[in-house]
């Protein structure tokens, strides 16, 4: 198959899986940004700061794993992580030694006054002001990122490998918790709940508008909604029902209305609230499970309603044997599949995943 045919075949398999239709085999994919540096013996420092280099390493890696049906993203995204968490991110070659994975440096940057300023300015205007003031992003950075994104998109298209998500809206809680620092934010939920709710309502309106615009421009396969601090383990039902669920629901329905799938990248333990996700649009969503939630319980809770992706444990990929990995993946395919299941590592591919374990994961899906 040429790259165009290959891309169409991969997209078709993934589309059927998300739509809960039968597939010829279980789709398999991965988020392989940092691992691409390991696999290609490249520079983490350069991968963390040079999107074109990151894309090159990722595409070279995919070329050696042609069975992958998709990759999560086409470049490494430390700056996007910074934007999503409203936190500075330390990277190899700058604040961290060469070879290190980027890490979020969570500090209390958002002040009480910032909540008022978001209400006055609107979320979008405040956010860009914050990007410059705290994260050091310049208007030129955004312009350059746009140009590089176009090049990366074209290269990835020509390589015949689709990306899962190219638009990344957040519910209000995660960026606020990151920029405020978690402990401080959690106390805000108690000390100023009404103010916070008002702020979040402003944020979600702007976020949905921005997301709709991005979807129309980029036409992604799915939008990724990554939530970690909003998991069931973090918040009591009273807080979760007020500060997480309404926004997750609004964003998901708005994305589905725009005709794209929703990639719910839900880190941590969501066991308590799995059943609620039946309120999400049917056959339009993917629950990306990072091994923090019980994937077998998830199957029972959401079978026939949304696709499940995951959840090969990071420790298994880094420390286990190929036989262990193959056995776990085979169990996933048998018990979570055959329809509505996408085999993938829980969250991202660990930077130190063994190559033979990645091959074992792929072989479990392809049978060869």
């Amino acid at each position: 198959m040429n790259p165009v045919e290959l891309r169409a075949a991969r997209l078709g398999r993934m589309t059927r899986a998300v739509a809960l239709e039968p597939t010829d085999r279980t789709p398999v994919m991965a988020w392989i940004d940092a691992w691409a540096a390991t696999y290609r013996q490249g520079s983490m420092a350069r991968l963390s700061t040079d999107p074109l280099y990151a894309n090159q390493l990722i595409l070279e890696t995919v070329a050696d794993f042609p069975e992958f049906d998709m990759i999560e993203v086409a470049a490494a995204l430390p700056r996007s992580v910074a934007a999503a968490t409203l936190s500075r991110v330390k990277v190899a070659g700058k604040e961290l030694p060469e070879g290190s994975l980027w890490q979020v440096d969570e500090q209390e940057h958002i002040t009480d006054e910032d909540y008022d300023r978001i209400l006055q300015m609107g979320w979008t205007a405040w956010k860009f002001e914050y990007y410059g003031r705290v994260l050091g992003f310049t208007p030129q950075d955004f312009e350059e990122l746009g140009k590089l994104g176009a090049i990366i998109g074209q290269r990835t298209f020509e390589a015949g490998i689709p990306t899962l998500s190219d638009v990344f809206p957040n519910i209000p809680l995660d960026p606020l918790a990151g920029g405020r620092s978690m402990a401080k934010f959690m106390t805000d939920l108690y000390r100023m709940p009404d103010k916070l709710k008002e702020v979040m309502d402003v944020m979600i309106t702007d976020t949905i508008e921005e997301m709709r615009g991005m979807i129309r421009m980029i036409k992604p396969f799915s939008v990724m909604m990554a939530v970690a601090r909003g998991s069931s383990a973090f918040l009591s039902p009273r807080l979760w029902n007020k500060f997480v669920w309404p926004y997750l629901l609004q964003l998901s329905h708005a994305a589905a209305e725009e005709g794209v799938f929703v990639n719910l990248h839900l880190d941590g333990d969501w066991n308590r609230d799995m059943e609620r996700f039946r309120e999400m649009p049917k056959g339009k969503c993917i629950w990306a499970c990072d091994n923090g939630s019980d994937i077998f319980k998830l199957k029972t809770a959401l079978d026939g309603h949304m696709a499940i992706k995951g959840d090969v444990p990071p420790a298994l990929l880094a420390l286990g044997t190929p036989d262990d990995v193959h056995a776990y993946c085979t169990r996933l395919i048998r018990e979570i599949g055959p329809t509505g299941f996408i085999l993938a590592p829980g969250c991202t591919m660990p930077q130190n995943a063994k190559v033979e374990n990645v091959r074992a994961m792929v072989q479990a899906a392809t049978g060869c």
């Binding site: 890490q103 402990a183 108690y190 444990p313 880094a318 420390l319 660990p350």
Partner: protein, 209 residues
């Protein structure tokens, strides 16, 4: 009145708690007695967390309120420490600067009556060794969020053993990517999936009901 303080702590009633602390201080109640009542309330918080009535949001809020009360009392927590079940040393292993998981565990352990020595993040093996020698903990916790930190955990635990400090000590590990495979690899005594696992393991170890 002091039962009101216990209840305010347990129910996370910040305004009522501050009022009670100030009233007890005005009556001349010793700081030690006030801290013991706060600790009693924290124990109820821990119990409610265990019973899934409270979640991490409530644990974090309880720790903040406790700290606020301690500040009113002049920041002297030694009274609470002297009545602790035992000592728990914890840090995020070197090469990893993530602190959320570590903070959750130290909070929960503190709520459950353990004296906690928090070593922070990116902690070198030498600092673990020093803290063990100085504080003589019954339990040490090592956390990480990166799979690339597993080798650091393994090296640290080997060094603790080589220094002859492991005899009366149990070592727990935890963090996003950890599981039993990780615990076996690094040579830990146990893997804790949740903060509550660390509490239960430590209480069982020390024979606390």
């Amino acid at each position: 009145m002091s039962q009101n303080l216990v209840n305010a702590m347990a129910d996370l009633e910040e305004t009522a708690l501050v009022k009670e602390v100030k009233a007890l201080q005005a009556q001349g109640t010793p700081a030690l007695e006030i801290i013991q009542k706060l600790q009693e309330g924290m124990n109820i918080v821990g119990k409610r967390y265990e019973e899934k009535e409270y979640y991490l949001s409530e644990l974090i809020m309880s720790a903040e309120i406790f700290k606020e009360a301690a500040t009113l009392l002049g920041g002297d927590l030694s009274a609470a420490d002297s009545h602790s079940h035992g000592t728990f040393v914890m840090g995020t292993i070197y090469g990893d600067i993530h602190d959320i998981g570590k903070n959750i565990v130290t909070t929960v352990m503190s709520c459950n009556g353990f004296k906690v020595i928090d070593l922070g993040v990116d902690v070198a093996t030498a600092d673990y060794l020093k803290a063990i020698q100085e504080h003589k903990p019954q339990v040490v916790g090592i956390s990480c969020l990166l799979t690339t930190a597993f080798d650091g955990m393994k090296e640290c635990i080997s060094a603790i053993e080589a220094a002859g400090l492991r005899k009366d000590l149990k070592i727990l590990i935890g963090g996003g990517p950890c599981d039993q495979t990780t615990a076996d690899y690094v040579g830990a005594d146990a893997y804790c999936k949740t903060a509550q696992d660390a509490v239960e393991y430590s209480k069982k170890l020390l024979g606390i009901q």
